[in-house]
Symmetry: C2
Subunit: 288 residues, 2 copies
């Protein structure tokens, strides 16, 4: 069993099965061809061609695009194309840090295959055989990956929140961390992946943070998303990454990145460069 | 001034100006078109076509390829195509960790544009405003980047040496570090870039290491390659990366990577994802 299988799983995406979603000629998402048929119901919003789906030319400006896609979202839910609104808007921007193109309910993001951003926090402290990580167990009633293992803190970035704001907010909700503690975290990089899901596509950029946790703090979930937390040595986490499917799909990537940065995965591994590059998008198909 | 200009400089490469060097149909290097004319002098070794330069089919096996390219190396030096042998063989392999394809004198590597591997070591210790880095000043008689600033330790990987062997050897030669100290270093990742040089091409993968240096050790060069070492805060190093050309071209990339991993460059920088991805090959042209 290898680390690489997780990178391959998180980059399973065949561009041929999708149509690009175009806004003023710029690709902003990917809609699976079988899903695209449902967009025929909105002829005033979408222009569907064999090589892409364009927003109608008369829908101009982020407010108008947001409104049109919101109308489509409600119609698609009514038609059963996907489940429901999540009640949280994600920002679709022209690249990271670029201007806002439109906002989209989080529940509609996989259907339209727009880029989403999130944060993951590795909480570690020194242990007998190197760093030990605080690992959460996801609640059994989570829609995605119920009961699977997760980082100390992880969350999607809602519109209007930056990476740091999201980290502070999620650390409080998911792990009961006071802000005075969370601010000791520091940014350590980012990972990218693009994968097909049953309901569409996940095209993610995750900003990663490390925090050295004090020995007298035990994380405690406050929003019902985690069942519990346990300390596991990073070596044991990486063994489970290699040998099991205990961790949520993308958490494997975060742990591989942790192993690469902390010298637990080394250049002597012949997949080393493929892992280093693959975590930053080299396995992504269909263009950046 | 931005960090990004250094990534752009280290990935300045126009595949149209080069011909792929092919071994049994596999690209193993890039020869600049103006340089390629000199290979006409070796018709038994090279088959030169408009779309690539192939090794003759009857040259089979790594020993035979090494001998043929060694013969060409001597002829090219005699013809003035490049300067001289460096007396150090680099291994050209089928990908990192893959089987040896052939060995090539280091002096001939830019001409043939084969992939080369190296190691760089960030030596840091806690300072008043975050980590401080030991920075070397390259000797004035170095052919490449004389007098420019460098990492504590850096070196190319000779054939037969692994990344870790190279680190131990170079740390002793360049910084006078005893092995008992160097083994405290740990791998932290790798960077990639491909850039045209006056004498051909540099297609590098650098394995990076961090070491927390004890306060009672001062590096001391033993091989004449460094003039001196000084401690500079990482913040000051990054300011110079942004605003000056004080550092050797590829050392800027190593320092940007250090800044990304240590939270000194943060997601709030709008180039953040471009930097993270660009350090791992997203800006490389001409295929991986």
């Amino acid at each position: 069993m290898t680390y690489l299988r997780h990178l391959e799983a998180c980059n399973r995406f065949d561009p041929q099965r999708f149509l690009p979603l175009l806004l003023a000629g710029r690709r902003v998402g990917f809609v699976r061809r079988d899903n695209a048929r449902a967009l025929d119901a909105f002829p005033r919003i979408f222009r569907i061609a064999s090589d892409g789906i364009a927003l109608a030319e008369n829908i101009v400006g982020s407010d108008a695009v947001t409104a049109a896609l919101g109308e489509a979202t409600d119609g698609l839910i009514a038609a059963g194309s996907f489940d429901k609104r999540r009640g949280e808007l994600f920002a679709v921007t022209d690249g990271w840090g670029g201007p806002l193109l439109f906002e989209l309910d989080r529940g509609a993001v996989p259907f339209f295959g727009t880029r989403a951003y999130g944060v993951h926090l590795n909480g570690w402290r020194p242990g007998a055989d190197g760093p030990a990580l605080w690992i959460g167990k996801r609640a059994m009633d989570k829609k995605i990956a119920p009961g699977e293992l997760d980082n100390l803190v992880a969350g999607g970035m809602g519109s209007g929140y930056g990476a740091w704001d999201t980290l502070l907010k999620e650390a409080a909700e998911e792990a009961g961390m006071p802000e005075a503690l969370t601010v000791q975290a520091h940014a350590v990089g980012a990972i990218r992946y693009r994968m097909e899901l049953p309901d569409g596509l996940r095209d993610d950029a995750l900003f990663l943070y490390d925090i050295r946790m004090p020995v007298d703090f035990t994380p405690r979930n406050t929003d019902g998303e985690m069942e519990d937390f346990r300390l596991l040595s990073a070596q044991e986490c990486l063994r489970r990454v290699r040998e099991t499917s205990d961790f949520k799909f993308n958490v494997n990537l975060v742990l591989i990145d942790f192993g690469l940065r902390h010298g637990l995965i080394r250049p002597e591994d012949q997949d080393y460069l493929t892992l280093v590059e693959g975590l930053r998008g080299s396995l992504i198909r269909g263009g950046r």
